[in-house]
């Protein structure tokens, strides 16, 4: 009991902002982990980050206009995802260039909107909230919308689960099976926009990449089957997010009156999970190599 008391500072379970943070943060973590696994497999990690940066312009605009920030984040992320799928650039380097230029343009808009917000004084602290998140100030009214977006993203990924896997191996293989690969790209892009908007709402637009890529990377390293990779990614994301919320809440008691930001703790936990996964994967690979080297001296490897 005393240990639990040390872990969970008083009021953690009865605090309304904590409830909202746990719900919205948990949803964002699950969706980002699931979508992230496919984003990394498709080699679109950079595109994921660019969507987040562009979405910050929507978040900033919604502060200026007094809109629901989730709608702002989602609107811009969807616009950027749609634009990238529409441009349909196949060459990897050309796609990197397009992504980088788009990312810059998006952040430029964010800078403009946040400047307006600062000079008009319409939203104090908007910059920090949009870019780096502020989980304990998420309005409870967002919960139903956030959960609906989460369910939609997960349903979309579940629907195209197998075609997504085949096109990650090779788009030619998928197309030869009769899969319309551009449609698959579009659905994945929409799910990615949903995931990015949810994460931007919780850990901020800039840091949403951490929730998208970190848990996915851990899952991909540690398991050889897609189902298990997804499970590990989801667990990693949830532990990091809920652990981060707990540590941030507790930090109000270590540093009276101030406390440290949730986003900081989440990102640190994701980073530690990634390091741990790398270590475990190395140990596991050594085991596989030893086992493979045993039966025949010169096999065809």
């Amino acid at each position: 009991m005393r240990l639990l008391g040390l872990m969970f500072a008083p009021g953690f379970f009865s605090n309304a902002p904590v409830h909202t943070a746990l719900l919205v943060g948990g949803g964002a973590a699950v969706v980002s982990a699931v979508v992230g696994v496919f984003t990394v497999m498709r080699g679109q990690s950079f595109a994921g980050h660019a969507l987040a940066d562009v979405s910050s312009a929507g978040g900033a605009a919604s502060y200026l206009l007094g809109l629901n920030p989730l709608v702002g984040f989602l609107g811009m992320a969807a616009l950027a995802a749609g634009g990238m799928e529409w441009a349909d650039v196949r060459d990897a380097r050309e796609r990197d260039l397009l992504t980088g230029v788009m990312l810059g343009a998006g952040l430029g808009l964010t800078a403009l909107f946040l400047y307006f917000a600062a000079v008009t004084g319409s939203a104090t602290g908007a910059a920090i909230t949009v870019l780096f998140g502020s989980m304990f100030t998420i309005p409870a009214s967002i919960v139903p919308v956030a959960l609906a977006i989460a369910v939609a993203a997960l349903a979309a990924i579940a629907a195209i689960y197998r075609p997504l896997l085949v096109s990650a191996v090779s788009e030619d293989l998928a197309q030869a099976q009769g899969t319309r690969v551009r449609l698959i790209g579009l659905v994945h892009g929409s799910a990615l926009a949903f995931a990015v908007a949810l994460s931007a709402m919780t850990v901020g637009a800039i840091l949403s990449t951490a929730l998208l890529i970190g848990p996915a990377a851990a899952g991909l390293r540690l398991a050889d089957r897609p189902g298990r990779s997804l499970a590990i990614a989801v667990l990693t994301g949830l532990i990091a997010t809920w652990g981060g919320i707990l540590l941030a809440y507790d930090s109000y008691y270590w540093t009276p009156g101030r406390g440290w930001p949730v986003s900081f703790f989440i990102v640190v936990l994701v980073f530690l999970a990634y390091l741990l996964a790398g270590l475990l994967a190395r140990v596991r690979l050594r085991g596989v190599r030893l086992a493979a080297a045993q039966p025949s001296g010169c096999g065809q490897h």
């Binding site: 075609p163 896997l165 191996v169 030869a176 050889d224 089957r225 065809q300 490897h301």
Partner: protein
């Protein structure tokens, strides 16, 4: 219904942005036949295979694939140079499974019948020992076996392979060729396999389709691979040389082309012997 061929191509013409790739290509592959698609680099082998799978739309002509009656695709396809990324969390077994139901929507449910079919295919391509390893960690020859199993698991009447022997060591080439011959007999699957070197295929091929100069000739290897037939195809004199059971087609007119290019380049003109 009179069309008994596993594949029949007639009057096929394909061009990309004004450049003619294939012109009036015509040939047939009989059920269960092992057919080699041979031609120099850039002769349109990949384009022809893609057109048969439906990845490229021809400008003219007709491609008929013998339907298997199940309503599914009756063509299996192994594309050229797939780089299987080590980041992809799929075991060899999973890739074969996706050959069966990879285009279906929704999350797969457990199925013993499906697992048995996948296991049988893995054994048939000799992949039993590495079925549970991650595809990105397999050797080139092992990956090729898995891609063949992926393409064959639905038992298509026709299997297309694009340069499956490129980048393999000599031993793997021999093993894959022998495996394909055995599979085509076992499953009565016609095979159309592209390669730039016909020699590894000479012992197994029933038919050759030779592509050059946008056109094709087809028939038995000793009818097609002859100086007068290939010279007519290329449009200039080529030599077919047989050395110790191996065939070399000397179609290069590089010396003339390089001299011509040098002559067009004024800086180097003086140095030409």
């Amino acid at each position: 219904m009179t069309d008994a061929a596993a594949l029949s191509v007639a009057g096929l013409g394909i061009s990309f942005s004004g450049r003619q790739i294939l012109k009036d290509v015509e040939f047939q592959v009989a059920p269960g036949e092992f057919c080699a698609l041979i031609g120099p680099n850039g002769s349109g082998k990949t384009t022809l295979l893609k057109a048969i799978v439906g990845l490229v739309t021809p400008d003219s002509g007709r491609i008929a694939v013998d339907a298997d009656g199940s309503g599914g695709t009756s063509v299996g396809y192994v594309p050229q140079k797939i780089s299987l990324d080590a980041h992809i969390p799929l075991r060899a077994r999973d890739v074969v499974m996706l050959g069966l139901d990879g285009a279906r929507l929704g999350v797969p449910l457990p199925s013993r019948a499906r697992d048995a079919r996948v296991e049988e295919m893995l054994q048939a391509v000799g992949a039993g020992d590495f079925a549970d390893r991650r595809i990105g960690h397999l050797s080139g020859g092992q990956q090729q076996r898995i891609l063949v199993a992926h393409a064959l698991v639905r038992r298509p009447r026709l299997l297309l392979l694009d340069e499956p022997l490129a980048n393999l060591d000599v031993r793997s080439v021999a093993e894959i060729v022998a495996l394909l011959r055995r599979l085509s007999l076992q499953y009565q699957t016609a095979i159309l396999l592209s390669a730039h070197d016909m020699n590894p295929l000479l012992p197994v091929m029933d038919r050759i389709v030779y592509l050059a100069n946008c056109c094709a000739v087809s028939g038995k290897a000793d009818e097609v691979v002859r100086t007068e037939v290939l010279s007519r195809l290329y449009g200039y004199h080529v030599d077919v040389v047989r050395v110790h059971g191996r065939v070399v087609v000397i179609a290069a007119h590089e010396p003339e082309e390089i001299r011509a290019a040098l002559a067009r380049d004024p800086v180097h003109t003086a140095e030409i012997p």
